[in-house]
């Protein structure tokens, strides 16, 4: 509740403006050569031009699309598999160490594996995004199932609920806070991996756009792309925070 008070929002915007101002000062005093760091005004002009006249809009949409697809797929897989593992204490004990082994593997480490399986194409990117984004939600789901109030397990037994009924009436709702927390983490991971994936496979997207801008010393375009990536992260995170608050109304 308190997280979204007006004051917090104002402070947050002030923080962003401060960053912008420091950036402005640094470029105005030419502490860093303009070729490497363009002014905020130049960057925003490049952003505007790119969105209106250039390819920035389709490139942004391509990256968002890749990120969302991978994230949704990862979340679905994580919730389904996590429920099946989570509902059984035996399955949890059996599989948890394996998950703890796989989880800390950097998703970039499996990129070579993904390339050898899928080749250098969009399936590879999707595969890597899903692999990287699946863990937080998977572990969240399992954690949520493992921590169902024992009383509620008794209630389900007293009402002779089937295992399936237990999953979707008690286990899953109980895991929702952990699932949402996992999905928020994994969205960031999905964005990073979508960009890395496009760089490797040279597909249309913000990552590729940024790389091309850097190679041809178009600093303003480079920073325009980075600004957009930051915005995607910011907006998606706020969107999920608001969804969180609505879905978890019962917690307040």
């Amino acid at each position: 509740m308190k997280r979204f008070r007006v004051l917090d929002i104002v402070l947050g915007i002030l923080g962003l403006l401060t960053l912008l101002w420091i950036w402005h000062l640094v470029t105005m005093l030419e502490l860093i050569p303009r070729v490497f760091l363009p002014s905020p005004a130049a960057t925003i002009a490049a952003l505007e031009w790119g969105l209106v006249n250039g390819d920035l809009l389709p490139q942004t949409l391509a990256t968002i699309n890749r990120m969302i697809q991978g994230w949704l797929l990862a979340s679905l897989v994580a919730i389904a598999v996590g429920s099946l593992i989570g509902v059984s204490a035996i399955a949890r004990a059996y599989i948890q160490p394996t998950l703890e082994f796989l989880r800390p593997l950097p998703a970039s480490a499996i990129i070579p594996v993904a390339i050898s399986i899928f080749g250098l194409n969009s399936s590879m990117v999707l595969g890597v995004v899903v692999f990287g984004a699946v863990w937080p939600t998977l572990l969240g789901t399992i954690h949520g199932f493992a921590h169902v109030e024992p009383r509620l397990v008794e209630v389900s037994r007293l009402l002779q609920m089937s295992r399936w009924e237990f999953i979707y009436k008690i286990g899953l709702p109980n895991a929702v806070p952990d699932i949402l927390a996992g999905m928020r983490l994994s969205l960031t991971v999905a964005l990073i991996l979508a960009v890395v994936g496009e760089l490797l496979t040279a597909q249309e997207g913000l990552g590729t756009a940024v790389l091309h801008a850097a190679r041809s010393y178009r600093a303003a375009d480079l920073y325009a792309g980075i600004l957009l990536l930051g915005l995607i992260g910011l907006v998606s995170n706020y969107g999920l925070a608001i969804a969180d608050k609505r879905i978890l109304a019962w917690k307040n």
């Binding site: 008794e154 209630v155 007293l158 009402l159 002779q160 009924e165 929702v176 019962w250």
Partner: protein, 255 residues
């Protein structure tokens, strides 16, 4: 052939590992009877209730409901827990909490709303159906749990210190509500409490447990007229006599 007892315990004992909690429990509860169980903390009251509910198998002996051995829980038996805060589904509104047993028993969806509203009205929560348990007071949450247990239309109701965490006023109101509700359907009640006066006020019978290991110390009939009344029943000479007797017994047990 005589009618089977609603609840029958035959030489029941229960151990957790080498720790004997209950021993040699013989007890029988007639259909429609209201039996209160009292005993010190740790004497095994909750454990006994969990065995009757089918949540816990006895180590030796047999637990029978209407003549049939209990193997697992059945919806004919409802349980009201002391810790209402944990026993309700926090993500379901009051309405949906009462709906749970109706869903479990397969009542068609179009018949549920009327039944749910009727049950909520019975426990005085008609105006709170859209609230989450976290938005209700302790007394209201316990009313909600009672409504949920009644949704099962149980023939046996097991209550584990249901009013232990409530203030005296709420407690008395809920005692009378429970008496009224179970009288309507002639429900058999197994009611655990710490409180001698509560046991006498509610019960047709009071069973006292001795501790370490838990066993039946005393089984006493309560021949007080019904319907009971918070003022006249508690001032009834028989009530006062029984209360004195029970206090003396409990003191002897714990000496």
């Amino acid at each position: 052939m005589a009618q089977n007892a609603a609840i029958e315990l035959k030489d029941v004992s229960l151990s957790f590992g080498s720790n004997e909690i209950l021993t040699g429990i013989d007890m029988s509860v007639e259909p429609g009877e209201f039996v209160c169980v009292i005993g010190a903390s740790g004497s095994g009251k909750t454990t006994l209730l969990r065995m009757i509910a089918g949540l816990l198998p006895p180590t030796t002996g047999a637990v029978l409901l209407h003549g049939k051995a209990v193997r697992s829980p059945t919806r004919r038996v409802a349980v009201v827990f002391q810790d209402y805060g944990r026993a309700l589904l926090p993500w379901r509104r009051a309405y949906a909490n009462v709906s749970l047993p109706l869903e479990a028993s397969g009542m068609p969806a179009n018949q549920r709303p009327a039944r749910i509203r009727q049950l909520l009205a019975k426990v005085g929560l008609a105006n709170h159906e859209d609230k989450f348990p976290g938005q209700l007071s302790g007394g209201m949450q316990q009313r909600l749990q009672i409504a949920r247990s009644l949704a099962q239309e149980p023939d046996t109701l097991l209550m584990d210190e249901p009013f232990g965490a409530l203030d005296a006023m709420t407690r008395q109101t809920l005692q009378d509500e429970v008496l009224r509700l179970v009288a309507e359907r002639k429900t058999t009640v197994f009611f655990v409490t710490h409180d001698i006066e509560e046991a006498l006020y509610l019960g047709d019978r009071v069973v006292a447990l001795d501790s370490n290991p838990g066993r039946v110390a005393y089984d006493i009939k309560v021949p007080l007229p019904r319907p009971r009344d918070q003022l006249t029943t508690r001032e009834h000479p028989e009530f006062l006599r029984l209360r004195r007797e029970m206090f003396e017994i409990m003191n002897k047990i714990h000496a």
